[in-house]
Symmetry: C2
Subunit: 133 residues, 2 copies
Amino acid sequence: MLRDADLRVTRPRLAVLQAVHAHPHADTDSLIGAVRQELSQVSHQAVYDSLSALTAAGLLRRIQPTGSVARYESRVGDNHHHVVCRSCGAIGDVDCAVGEAPCLTASDDHGFTIDEAEVIYWGLCPDCSTTRS
Amino acid sequence: MLRDADLRVTRPRLAVLQAVHAHPHADTDSLIGAVRQELSQVSHQAVYDSLSALTAAGLLRRIQPTGSVARYESRVGDNHHHVVCRSCGAIGDVDCAVGEAPCLTASDDHGFTIDEAEVIYWGLCPDCSTTRS
DNA sequence: AGAATTTTCTTGACTCATTCAAGAAAAGGG
DNA sequence: CCCTTTTCTTGAATGAGTCAAGAAAATTCT
């Protein structure tokens, strides 16, 4: 499967991958819960380790909007972005209009070697939007 | 001064404002240190409260790149962005080419009412870039 | 100005995501 | 099938940030 990434194939890792695929944008705690429905006895540490390993290998992507805990998604390599609700924290995917990373160019890069432009659109989701008005 | 924001004028708040002006992108801990050079006896709670109040009032802006603790800056209202070094965490300001928030339009807004597009350019700062090669 | 009222600050405990560490268990290579 | 390396389990620790109760300071009202 994903032995291509030089990662040993273990039950926890498979379960974590499945869980992230099934629950995009879920936080670590939810993922631990989801993983335990497959393997009831996994330690939280194993999940943390798996998530790190898979993220480092590029099989998962970690996102963490300000004010939120770490969340993971399996959609990688397409440099897409996110919309986040300021009220309930709901997250949605937004395709990048450009495609290639970094999709944007900084007006002044301060000499940095930039490889990615991360965009987060902040606002209110439909539900929170109507509730407030 | 900033009584316009309906905030009481207190020593801690003034000191916090000064500290953030003097140390852009500093984290809360550094700010506590800086504030204590003015008022040696301020509680960390007062700094946290002041930062929240000033941020809510729009006098400060809070940024929190993934993997970093909360940081504050006094440059507000111009919708600028940031470059962040993946290695050392250094942060630089990047003017927004467009100017008005939200400076970008999502290709698919999922029905969200978007008010801001936050952009973080990730890469390596000049120092870390040369050290690695 | 002085008293009343409200907000803010101090102190100290506490939460909770995440990390660290040591030994046990499982994977992959020979 | 055994050996080496990586990964998982268990359990404790870290640390940014929050909560809460009472004291102190800012405005407001008389």
